[in-house]
Symmetry: C2
Amino acid sequence: MQISCIKMEGMSSDQSKEVAHTYRATQARTSIIAVLTEGNAPLSVGEILDVLKKRKSCPNKTTVYRQLATLIRRDMVKEVQFTEGAKRYEMADTGHHHHVVCTQCKRVEDVTVEGDLAAEEKMIAKTKKFKALRHSLEFYGLCPKCA
Amino acid sequence: MQISCIKMEGMSSDQSKEVAHTYRATQARTSIIAVLTEGNAPLSVGEILDVLKKRKSCPNKTTVYRQLATLIRRDMVKEVQFTEGAKRYEMADTGHHHHVVCTQCKRVEDVTVEGDLAAEEKMIAKTKKFKALRHSLEFYGLCPKCA
DNA sequence: TGACAAATGCAAATAAGTTGCATTAAGATG
DNA sequence: CATCTTAATGCAACTTATTTGCATTTGTCA
């Protein structure tokens, strides 16, 4: 699998106060991006660590948390959370989609949805004076294995 | 404010293995339901405790967690979680609605949405062989105060 | 009123995520 | 290639959210 854009340079426009900063293509960053890119589902830090433990080198959990924070700041990764304990992370460039969550085995998969939720966002902005920037939609139920 | 159905008897159909069980109208349950019924937004355990501390008697946090678990099992309360740390709880009988979450001050409010998400659920069931039972939709953005 | 089980409180245990600090190692430079 | 600078890492300790065990209290119902 090809991983692009591991090295990240410069600073994004919204980091106004930050000093210019050079990001490095480290082992940890590379492997975390690899794991997130492989699956078609968002992973928890625990799951990321489990996968990496089976490979050559596994970073410390602190490193994983910090890398994810950096990748989120750089808009390369998105954070999602369902009604389980842990947060989940997925690559940001996988296109807009939503999730189905199995309430039994906790497995998560991506889905795309037809409805025009962008229109809803505009309506909310009007009626609630709430400036909706993004949305998240999850379907909970039973996956084929647990049904 | 009137609180109905504080005493809960019998067992719901899906509690197959459980022995019949009588629920009691205790101070803790009464006050937790009162707090959840008052607002139009889901509350975290911390927020529930904060409100109750200002009143006559405040239950222990363990009790709050346990009462919420019981109320959820009885389908009287729903649990939701956004990308903050703590889970939030709201009365189940407030009609189907969704949430707007302020990414700045973390405030949460209810909204109702037009789109036909039930239709989406059926489609998912077909294409993903995933039996979607319920869904949750959140809009993230800035509330009037933070915008 | 008295018995019995539901409900509670407290303290200790988990689990998820964070922070401080000393150390390591990308990557730029000579 | 050796060296320097600082981003990135690892470790241990910490915070916050939630759970569990156990002894005690308290609704309910006979």
